[in-house]
Amino acid sequence: MTTQRDRSRIQEALTVGRSRHAAEAPRRPLGLAPTGLLILGAIYCLLPVSWVLVSATKSPGELFTLSTFQPGTGLFSNLESLNAYRGGVFWLWMLNTLIYAGGGALLSTLVSAVSGFALAKYRFPGRNLIFNILIGGILVPAVVLAIPQYLLFSKLGLADTYWAVLLPQILHPYSIYLARIYAAAAIPDSLLEAGRIDGATEFRLLRRVALPLMIPGMVTIFLFQFVAIWNNFLLPFIMLGDDHKFPLTVGLYTLLAAGANQPSLYNLIITGALLSIIPLIALFLTMQRYWRTDLSSGAVK
């Protein structure tokens, strides 16, 4: 695969094939089968989400008595009790999750972009070794790392702090991999060479040429990393003791565990689960453009 091909792909991707299907004349229609299959898939995927939506409207008494998809009358009282639960700690979890996911994803994107650029656009001794080792990190199960990470953070006095959750999630091998591929495709060598002839330093090239060209790819990496951290459970679960630092996943899990003895908490869990997926769904809908265009040029070469 040549750079020429890549560039045309980028171009293609950026202009998105919106117009292209319009130009196609349907030749041998398969009837409604494709649409039907996709709709079935969509219904399957929406089933649990609609369940949580309906269940969040059920009051504690209704949850185990009303039939599955029959709406209840308790939405506002559920929201109220969630709001009142331990002085509104749920909203604190939401805020913490935003800090972890937002901050972590931002730092991760920067580190990945700079590394990806270096790996894609320079030839230097050890390049493949460093790349393979970094990528190898993806093979290490999270549980394997979480225990020693916790013990080591404790020795530094950093366990049970925001740092303990933020720092280990900055390095993300898959993001580096994506950034490398994206940089290789999106940054023409000729531009870098031209800059060098003009006497620009490598750092300046990175800042002025490489990173601006990589922004669409970085948005994608940011989104993936944001979702990954938002959904992470194990690391914060092990690192944090103070429930005022919990993210949503761990907070909801403690609610679930407590729910065993106080089943009225199930309503809070379900309402909380619903609220916890709303921000991400909003992110999906508003950032759709980036989920699409940039994966096409960045996911796989």
Binding site: T35, A42, F203
Partner: protein, 290 residues
């Protein structure tokens, strides 16, 4: 052509390498260290100084490799993983091809809906499905989703539900990047959509399919959240259902960090062999290097 520019690439890679060292290499080293040790207690084990840490060499690793519980865990995960890989990636490919074909209505709605589960944390997804599986609450009657035979399928369903959309999107966006000209010639020859899909689209997608397969293999080897969250709902999932659950149990429930460290090294080694082996075979294509 990438060029040689002195120290610059090393400087650019310094943050990643530093983070790798601090949060991956050192913890892994520490895991190796722990795996070679064990605590020994004297007498009742109560009171000060009754417990000492000793060096035991390969003992923990030997135990981990020969532990039948761990191998049963591997058996279960292989069955579960094969199911997930085939169904999830099959559906992802099917949906991606359907979305890319010209005759689909409501494609935007379908695409977003199928991708939506990706936004749901694993803990929450398992919780939602757990409720939906309960005989007293499920809208689909007549099936005991949590019976010993069904539970693997039920668990696989959660993974398929959560993962299909992501893989579909990766494949779909790759399809969108295929230049139109590729199809023109085929159309000239009178090829239909099915033929185009099989003769052009799928071959071009192969590297992407390989890559999604590798990542899915890694994810299924490390399956943990789904069975852990489903356990309270069912009598059929043991605390060592998957190898990773055994690590968690050893480390956090039975408080044996040393066995946990040894077992996790075994898991990491198996992941490494499987995935790196797979990657090596297809490396030229997946990484786009000559």
């Amino acid at each position: 052509m990438p060029s040689k520019r002195g120290a610059a690439p090393y400087v650019f890679l310094a943050p990643a390498v530093t983070l790798f060292t601090l949060f991956l290499a050192v913890p892994i080293g520490y895991t190796v260290y722990l795996s070679l040790r064990r605590t020994k207690v004297k007498g009742l084990g109560l009171g000060k100084g009754a417990k000492t840490e000793i060096f035991v060499g390969w003992d923990n690793l030997k135990t981990a490799v020969t532990d039948p519980e761990l191998w049963h865990g591997w058996e279960r995960v292989v069955g579960y993983g094969a199911l997930v890989l085939v169904v999830m990636l099959g559906f992802a490919l099917l949906f991606a091809l359907l979305l890319d074909s010209a005759h689909v209505r409501l494609s935007r709605f379908s695409r977003i809906s199928i991708f939506l589960p990706y936004a749901v944390p694993g803990v929450v997804a398992s919780l939602l499905w757990g409720f939906l599986y309960l005989p007293g609450m499920t809208p689909i009657g007549g099936i005991d989703f949590l019976s010993p035979t069904a539970v693997t399928y039920s668990m696989a369903n959660i993974a398929v539900w959560g993962g299909t959309g992501f893989n579909m999107l990766v494949l779909y966006t790759n399809l969108r990047a295929i230049p139109q000209e590729y199809y023109e010639a085929a159309r000239m020859d009178g090829a239909g959509e099915l033929e185009i899909a099989f003769r052009i689209k799928i071959p071009i997608l192969t590297p992407a399919i390989i890559l999604t397969t590798v990542f899915s293999i890694i994810a299924t080897i490390q399956v943990f959240t789904e069975p852990t969250t489903l356990r309270p709902f069912s009598n059929t999932i043991s605390s060592t259902w998957s190898p990773l659950m055994k690590v968690y149990r050893d480390a956090f429930v039975t408080g044996d960090l040393y066995s946990a460290a040894a077992t996790s090294l075994v898991i990491a080694a198996i992941s490494l062999v499987l995935s790196f082996g797979f990657l090596r075979v297809v490396r030229g294509r997946a990484f786009g290097e000559s």
